[in-house]
């Protein structure tokens, strides 16, 4: 009925709309939807290489008893819980400072802080590996400043290797998030801040009571994007810690474990697919919680 009333003009737009949208939908269907469904099917199969047979929930049972998987999951969640908040807060503070037109040289600061986003994940991982070498520039600087008495084993100690990964991702992505906040801040009327300033609202309160609430949709967006990024962490750990996941798997991530299961160990596509679905489920759950939390605070 609705179609009949809209007549030929409606259909004209429909046909054109479909034609314009079809290439993307086709490609997404072929290279995303089809593989993700296939991956789900594979996660119920087991076997070496291409010789797979249905195994029911055997792979899921194996997850529970796989210490390497538990390690990779714990590491990934540690990166997520520690790194994402640090980065988001840092990016917010930087953006709100650099949004102030009275700040001298803000274009220069903005460019400098954004610069890390230009590098490839591989190139900066390699750089960081050199900078954080035992006698490297970071340790020698810290020693010269009197912060440490003996070099920190960044690359070989389970704890410090994790810290290094967190430092590295924060370096690479803070400026990226900052640009989103800056863009959003420029759509906010500056007079709100002026009024608050004249009323004697201190800078910190302006930040927590004006900036953060107004930026909430963008903060949510960047948090979800960062969550997805952290859960997929691969390039950095692969290149910082010799491809195996660091000292006693201390930096191993889920993505790296999947890669190892598929291409380094005896290929087991079924089990690797099961691990990959852990990431799918985590991303979905965390994104859902983040949307939910954002909605709750609205009320």
């Amino acid at each position: 009925m609705v179609h009949a009333r809209r007549g030929s003009i409606g259909r004209y737009y429909d046909v054109n709309g479909w034609l314009f949208v079809a290439p993307v939908l086709g490609l997404i269907g072929l290279f995303m939807i089809y593989p993700i469904v296939w991956s789900l099917w594979m996660s119920f199969q087991s076997g070496r290489g291409m010789m797979m047979k249905f195994a029911g929930f055997a792979n899921i049972v194996r997850l529970w008893n796989d210490p390497v998987f538990i390690k990779a999951l714990t590491n990934t969640m540690t990166y997520f819980v520690v790194q994402v908040p640090i980065m988001i807060v840092l990016a917010l503070i930087l953006a709100s400072i650099l949004n102030n037109p009275r700040i001298f040289g803000r274009g220069l600061f903005r460019t400098a802080i954004f610069l890390p986003c230009v590098t490839s994940l591989v190139a900066y991982s390699v750089l960081f590996k050199g900078m954080f070498a035992p006698d490297g520039v970071v340790n020698s600087t810290l020693a010269a400043l009197g912060v440490i008495s003996s070099p920190i084993p960044w690359l070989t100690h389970p704890f410090w290797a994790k810290v290094l990964v967190i430092i590295a991702i924060t370096w690479r992505w803070t400026g990226y998030n900052m640009i989103f906040y800056l863009a959003a801040l420029q759509n906010i009327d500056r007079s709100i801040y002026e009024v608050a300033r004249i009323d004697g609202v201190p800078a910190w309160a302006r930040f927590t009571h004006i900036t953060i609430p107004l930026l909430k949709p963008v903060i949510l967006f960047t948090t979800v994007i960062s969550t997805i990024g952290t859960l997929q962490l691969f390039d950095e750990v692969y290149n910082l810690t010799e491809g195996r996941g660091g000292p006693s798997n201390a930096t191993l991530t889920l993505s790296l474990y999947i890669y190892n299961l598929t291409f380094r160990f005896m290929p087991n596509f079924g089990y690797a697919a099961t691990v990959s679905y852990v990431i799918v489920v985590l991303v979905a759950l965390l994104a859902f919680f983040q949307f939910f939390a954002a909605r709750e605070r609205d009320k």
Partner: protein, 273 residues
């Protein structure tokens, strides 16, 4: 009085913080360039002064790596991937705006949901698909899965909202077909949107690592990121040579960024509006 001192302290704190952050952001680049001029041993020992090994490092790099081929491979993949992504995504971004079907928003939201699909969950099926199609070790296999990007479609749709509908209506009165409006009016008008999308997609494609690592197995097809990674993971990596490689690999994206910085920031603004 106290207010003045407080303000001065605040300014000091603000600029100190900004300065420190800017320094920390830029220092690795500085160190990378210095590294290219130093010997491997000096780099590991944390030397932060220019050295005399630049010529040696460069010549070792060019003897160890078939640089023209490697750069050609990277450039081919990045440009092909960028052009195709922009074409397909801008069509869809425009399409979703002129689309009047009641399925539109549902379809759009379903498409955005694919943003949450992690690549790790796709890589095994994609690898098998490419194997069956006989595309392992080809650049097409690297490019194909990167073309459909929900994020870039989202970006184009957001920016299309600013495209004046009067322009479209006028063109329609003149008897232009939808594809003609797209090609001859939309594309030229949305130049800056394309420029910003170009930067983002080009950088992603140029820097892509995991998927090329899986698909490109022979030395003839490898990209610069793969080569740097393998140079650095040698048992005794020659860091001077690695630094030459990272400088060369970073230059194109740095150049694109500085050349198109204004469009980039404008583009980001457009996507948040």
């Amino acid at each position: 009085m106290t207010n003045g001192i407080g303000r001065a302290a605040g300014a000091l704190l603000t600029y100190g913080f900004l300065g420190l952050m800017a320094f920390l952001s830029v220092f690795p680049f500085f160190w990378m360039i210095l590294g290219a001029t130093n010997s491997s041993i000096d780099i590991i020992k944390g030397r932060v002064l220019p050295g005399a090994a630049l010529a040696t490092n460069v010549s070792t790099f060019f003897t160890q790596v078939n640089a023209p081929l490697v750069f050609w491979n990277s450039a081919k993949i990045a440009i092909l991937s960028t052009v195709l992504t922009l074409a397909v995504s801008s069509l869809a971004g425009y399409g979703f705006e002129i689309f009047r079907s009641h399925h539109r928003e549902r379809l759009y939201r379903a498409m955005l949901l694919t943003l949450m699909i992690p690549f790790a969950a796709l890589m095994i099926p994609l690898f098998i698909m490419m194997g069956k199609a006989g595309l392992i070790n080809t650049h097409i296999a690297v490019v194909l899965p990167t073309i459909a990007s929900a994020f870039v479609v989202f970006y184009f749709r957001q920016c299309t909202k600013a495209f004046p509908s009067e322009l479209r209506d006028a063109a329609k009165v003149d008897g232009l077909k939808e594809w003609q409006i797209f090609l001859f009016i939309y594309v030229p008008v949305m130049r800056s949107t394309y420029a910003a999308a170009f930067i983002i997609v080009f950088m992603t494609a140029w820097n892509n690592y995991l998927w090329p690592l899986i698909v490109l197995q022979s030395n003839e097809t490898k990209t610069i990121t793969l080569v740097i990674s393998s140079l650095a993971s040698a048992y005794y990596p020659d860091y001077g040579v690695v630094m030459v490689g990272t400088v060369l690999a970073t230059l194109p994206t740095l150049a694109v960024f500085f050349f198109m910085q204004r469009q980039f920031v404008q583009g980001m603004l457009g996507s948040v509006k």
